[in-house]
């Protein structure tokens, strides 16, 4: 029996895809690199996921979990021909525990659907990636997704209390629990951000966050990026942690405005969207402080969203920023690095210099509040040498961020695209420890192989001892 036959025996013919055209459709996520699937399956239950993994293990075929494929770093793209397990249909009835403010939801549930589903309880799921209408909770767990509002609330790892996961051998484990201080090793924390390399998450115990009583959203415009960045640092220095603090540069604003028609200030060099939440009096005071700081730093205008509709429009503008770049060029490369907030203005300036040097068209949109930069390079991959140029510029941008005390990825994960840069932030010993942890879950290396860890991350792969001095291979 072939792999496909065995899978069809479990799922029937309709939920096992193997036609070349169907597989081509699954070759990519929202990033740039395509991969190859040998088959794609659409299971609906934990049992079906488990059965599929057993079949894959028996055939020795690697397995890659996929949510809705909005990932930007190739996490859901097979690095070697693999079985794609598409999780969108795995969404059994939710178990909502309003009193304990948590709920078991399916890994295939869409992020925004979860928040909408508990709207009536006055609660929401806090991580709100810009892709939140489209991405799955399972994918959020896989990448430890963040979002504009994670500045104050923290990223996915803070909002996931437990996971139900199927391991490479097909066993079902439950890690973590609703208990405030669970006993044993915190394997839940290990799974969040593991990009499907430890197993496939089927259900997630999410923490529910109460909606704030009051919200104020400000749109601040500046005639230089530096002034906007300085406003960010000064705001945080003033002791205010806004719920969100987001920045867009002029090319980005122009592209977004073409889609959204929200009367955005297309003349400004940079705009900041700041949001404060809390009690009525508190938010007014904080909004006033931010406004004052912004004006001191040279803001050219301040607009406060008048109502929910205007607020939603501003967020819609921000959250559609990535997609809007294709108006400029057919391909885009999206960076995702973190720098200390104090270094924001400097790193941003350097990044513009790099783009200029490589003659690349760049747009910027980022979670300024936590120093998470997302420079976007729009380019045409068919132009000879362009893709390499973009890649080279990308590496340089990562290097300046890391040099300023930053990190490799803010939220999009390592995936394929940054795997080989891991050596920039981790020593061989660090990498080896990670590789051993991974082996403990997946001894045969079948779960999303080639992701996160560079090849040869295990020192023993090369018969080397784990010497700190040795070069990362």
């Amino acid at each position: 029996m072939t792999l496909v036959d065995d899978l069809q025996a479990i799922l029937g013919p309709d939920r096992v895809l193997s036609h070349p055209l169907e597989l081509l459709v699954y070759a990519k996520d929202a990033g740039v690199t395509p991969g190859e699937a040998v088959a794609a399956v659409l299971p609906e239950t934990t049992q079906e996921v488990s059965a599929c993994l057993r079949v894959a293990a028996r055939h020795g075929v690697p397995v890659v979990a996929r949510g809705t494929g909005t990932g930007l770093s190739g996490g859901a793209v097979p690095d070697e021909p693999a079985l794609l397990v598409v999780m969108t249909r795995v969404d059994p009835a939710w178990e909502i525990d309003a009193a304990s403010r948590c709920a078991w939801v399916g890994a295939g549930a869409l992020n925004l659907d979860v928040s909408r589903g508990i709207e009536g309880l006055g609660m929401h799921f806090a991580p709100d990636p810009s892709s939140q209408a489209a991405c799955t909770i399972g994918g959020n767990v896989g990448t430890n997704a963040g979002g504009p509002h994670c500045l104050a609330e923290g990223t996915t790892v803070v909002h996931v209390l437990g996971v139900e996961m199927v391991t490479a051998s097909g066993d079902v484990v439950v890690l973590g629990s609703a208990a405030p201080d669970p006993i044993g090793l915190d394997l839940r924390g290990v799974v969040v951000g593991s990009e499907g390399t430890l197993g496939i998450v089927t259900r997630v115990l999410v923490k529910l966050t109460e909606n704030p009583p009051a919200v104020r959203t400000l749109l601040l415009t500046f005639d230089s990026l530096r002034a906007a960045a300085a406003t960010v640092s000064a705001t945080i220095a003033a002791g205010i942690v806004p719920a969100a603090l987001e920045m867009m540069d002029q090319p980005m604003v122009i592209a977004v405005e073409a889609f959204i028609h929200a009367d955005l200030p297309v003349d400004a060099a940079a705009v900041l969207i700041a949001e404060v939440v809390g009690l009525d009096e508190g938010v007014d005071a904080e909004a006033a402080t931010i406004e004052r700081i912004a004006v001191e730093q040279g803001a050219t205008s301040v607009r406060v969203a008048g109502d929910d509709a205007e607020r939603e429009l501003l967020w819609k503008a921000r959250k559609n920023a990535f997609g809007a770049v294709a108006q400029a060029a057919p391909n885009y490369y999206l960076h995702d690095t973190v720098v200390p907030r104090t270094a924001l203005a400097d790193v941003v300036t350097q990044i513009y210099e790099i783009a200029e040097r490589f003659e690349l068209e760049m747009m910027n949109v980022f979670h300024a509040g936590d120093g998470n930069l997302h420079p976007l390079v729009a380019y045409d991959a068919r132009e000879p040498g362009k893709a390499e140029q973009v890649q080279a510029a990308a590496e340089e941008m990562v290097r300046v961020s890391v040099a300023a005390g930053g990190s490799l990825t803010g939220e999009h994960g390592i995936g394929l695209e940054k795997r080989d840069l891991m050596g920039l932030v981790f020593s061989p010993v660090d990498l080896d420890a990670q590789a051993r942890l991974r082996d403990a879950f997946d001894p045969d290396g079948l779960m999303n192989p080639g992701k996160i860890l560079p090849r040869g991350a295990r020192c023993y792969d090369y018969g080397m001892s784990a010497l700190p001095e040795s070069e990362p291979s």
Binding site: T70, F259, N320, V325, Q327
Partner: protein, 397 residues
């Protein structure tokens, strides 16, 4: 006419359209998603893979609801791409079922006499109360208004001209609109006359060609559009009271030589009348007649980005619009889709009906004939499904 490279390039595969796509919501399958369909169109257009049955099915399964187009921050011209891909498919894989569909959309619907005959026939069946026994595929029969056994047409009508007309309007008679929804035309004519417009429904016009275009019968669609360009010349506005038709008229620049002249003057009746109300040329009534459920036809909401206008009409008529779903997911009618992909159409229709039932309201406002038929066939007795212009005209008269 496969999509061009420039059109394909507009998709950056971000996936933001996925949750807006009804077929993706139903299946969770990238193969049934806008991004997947675009990738497939690309593979065929570039010759990477052959045009085969799987591809044909992928293109056929798409509702053409344009929700993806409206959701795409990269401004993908999805509708145009789909229509092109289907026309190419008609050439590359001329299946019998496809031929029948194109015959129906491209020719039969444009044959006045035949449509009149069919209408009378259905009118008789309705009187005999046998419509409920028709096969599931013909569910739409259950969603029709009571048809006239002796049909009459608005074609050639020239409403009496006011002394100083505010402007001249050519009313698109349409194919099934003319035969099956005469009350909507009456309301449109009444309201426009009251606002001081001279309203004609030029005799030499044809079906707008939207259905033909969506089925891949491009040649027929172009022929119809070309005839309409001359039939509608000389009028200040071309008004349609079916959202699918007004959407298509606005794209005539793609379908006929000189088509931009129609595209520029084309208006959906809801936006046209809402603007007249806003300018104080038509009255508004106190909102005291109670709540009604609003259903947004895809070709109004996604295709033309019109949502405020029908609500304006409803309010002006004295009713309170109530929303039934946040995203405006397609009801499953989607032109001929409800006939040939009836299982999916039924699933979508049933969930739309459930949303309406959950509101407890029994009057549903929809500005498109296909949606009206679909909603009625799923809601059954006890519901009134009505065009916003009818509600407004009732209040006026």
């Amino acid at each position: 006419m496969n999509p061009t490279q420039a059109q394909l390039d507009a998709c950056v595969t971000c996936g933001l359209c996925l949750p807006h796509c009804p077929t993706f919501r139903l299946t969770g399958d990238e193969v049934a998603s806008p991004r997947g369909r675009i990738a497939a169109m690309g593979a065929i257009a570039t010759g990477a893979l052959p045009s085969d049955e799987t591809y044909a099915e992928m293109m056929s399964f798409c509702l053409g609801c344009l929700a993806c187009e409206a959701a795409c921050p990269s401004l993908i011209p999805y509708g145009e791409m789909l229509v092109g891909a289907r026309e190419q498919l008609a050439k590359d894989q001329p299946s019998l079922a496809g031929r029948l569909r194109r015959l129906l959309a491209g020719r039969i619907l444009n044959m006045k006499w035949l449509l009149a005959l069919v209408t009378s026939g259905i009118g008789i069946l309705q009187k005999l109360r046998v419509v409920g026994f028709l096969p599931k595929r013909l569910r739409l029969m259950r969603g029709l208004r009571p048809l006239r056994v002796f049909p009459h047409s608005v074609l050639g009508v020239r409403d009496h001209t006011p002394a100083e007309p505010a402007g001249s309007v050519a009313l698109l008679a349409g194919c099934v609109m003319d035969e099956w929804f005469p009350e909507v035309h009456d309301a449109t004519r009444g309201v426009l006359q009251m606002a001081g417009f001279q309203v004609h429904s030029p005799e030499r016009q044809q079906c707008c060609g939207a259905l033909a275009a969506h089925e891949g019968a491009g040649e027929e669609a172009r022929r119809m559009a070309q005839r309409n360009v001359s039939a509608f010349s000389g009028y200040d506005y071309v008004v349609a009271d079916a959202a699918g038709c007004s959407a298509h008229l606005k794209e005539y620049n793609q379908w006929a030589e000189g088509g931009e002249s129609v595209a520029e003057r084309a208006r959906d009746v809801t936006e046209f009348v809402a603007a007249l109300i806003d300018r104080g040329l038509l009255p508004t009534f106190a909102e005291a007649r109670g709540p009604v459920a609003m259903q947004d036809p895809c070709h109004l909401r996604h295709g033309q980005r019109i949502t405020a206008a029908p609500r304006r009409l409803v309010r002006a008529a004295g009713y309170t619009p109530v929303e039934i779903d946040q995203d405006g997911l397609c009801c499953g009618a989607a032109g001929l889709y409800m006939v040939y992909e009836h299982e999916t159409a039924d699933e979508l229709g049933a969930s739309k009906a459930a949303e309406i039932q959950a509101t407890g309201l029994t009057t549903v406002v929809s500005a498109n004939p296909g949606c009206e038929i679909q909603l009625r066939s799923h809601l059954g007795k006890g519901y009134r499904i009505v065009h916003p212009i009818e509600l407004y005209w009732e209040s006026l008269s």
